[in-house]
Assembly symmetry: C2
Homo-oligomer: 211 residues x 2
Amino acid sequence: MNKNISSQTLQRLPVYLNYLISLPEKIKSGNISATAIADALQLNNVQVRKDLASVSQGGRPRTGYVTAELISDIQSFLGFKNRDGVIVAGVGNFGKAMMCSDSFSDYGFDVICGFDCNENIVGTSINRIPVLDISEMKNFCLNRNIRIGIITVPEKHAQEVCNMMTDSGIKYILNFASVHLNVPKGVTVHNENISLTLAMISRCNFSENRT
Amino acid sequence: MNKNISSQTLQRLPVYLNYLISLPEKIKSGNISATAIADALQLNNVQVRKDLASVSQGGRPRTGYVTAELISDIQSFLGFKNRDGVIVAGVGNFGKAMMCSDSFSDYGFDVICGFDCNENIVGTSINRIPVLDISEMKNFCLNRNIRIGIITVPEKHAQEVCNMMTDSGIKYILNFASVHLNVPKGVTVHNENISLTLAMISRCNFSENRT
């Protein structure tokens, strides 16, 4: 399996998956070709063929894919069989948005806990996801082998929270605070700076478009 | 002025600006070199020199920049002299986070209005920014020549809201709904798909890091 697929391919995988799952049982228990999928979704035939080949080795000339195998391979790739728990530090508007988003599920992620230090929020739940005191992060994450954290705390607390995350075994951090975070080797930080993105698209002729 | 600067450079500009503004009046009314700025901010000398040259033509060998001119040039580039009003469609958790974020200001953006169709929210204000009925968007934007909109509505309403934005003269759209949006020529859409980003960094060896 090719782990170095493009974001464009990755983004189409849930589309293929949803389509395949929606098919009548008769087709689901048989075969399907990349061309048939491309036609149904009005996508480019070659692109679909490449996308599917990057996650499944089951494609055969003329017969196509065994539908059930293809569904299973896409689900594996998207992490459905090995779902990742995600924690959110900072349960303000941004944190709540993360905890309420239903789009994580499409990629095999489950936001399973929020952390905050505000007494009024700790002990409550958002979208049926508990909010714990931030001091409980380490135990929580180590016990559950959590690898992914989202930082939605104010800038001034971001580095401290980042340190707590790396101490808790977290390897991948999505950071919404607009500060640079120092992390130990082996930890990946991705900074989401929304105002920077706005500036890039509206003032700098920046045309990167991730879908 | 070079409009095609990198996101890394763009991101450092507010850092330079904040530093320059914080200087004592004596220096602010004199000159400053790229090297002095690099030293003070613990950044690479060559990088700072390049960054500044991309937004100001005032650098002179040995004497450096007239500090006041450099401040003015960075402010111009970041849009401080021609600030952009931004509207937000969809005042849920995400929309509220956008309306409460203070990071837009660093890049010369002001979120000036939220739009929603929920009677309980319309007429209120978030962070002193009014929330109007979405039917008022067109008049509001055309009267104020708004160019930038953020879409934080549920997926199923995103295309409809996008159409309203383009009808309202909006040219740059930041889209948080995970659907592809069709826009007329001349309109730029940037899709922020947070779960996709998480999948890229944690499952696909994706190491792009925008800061």
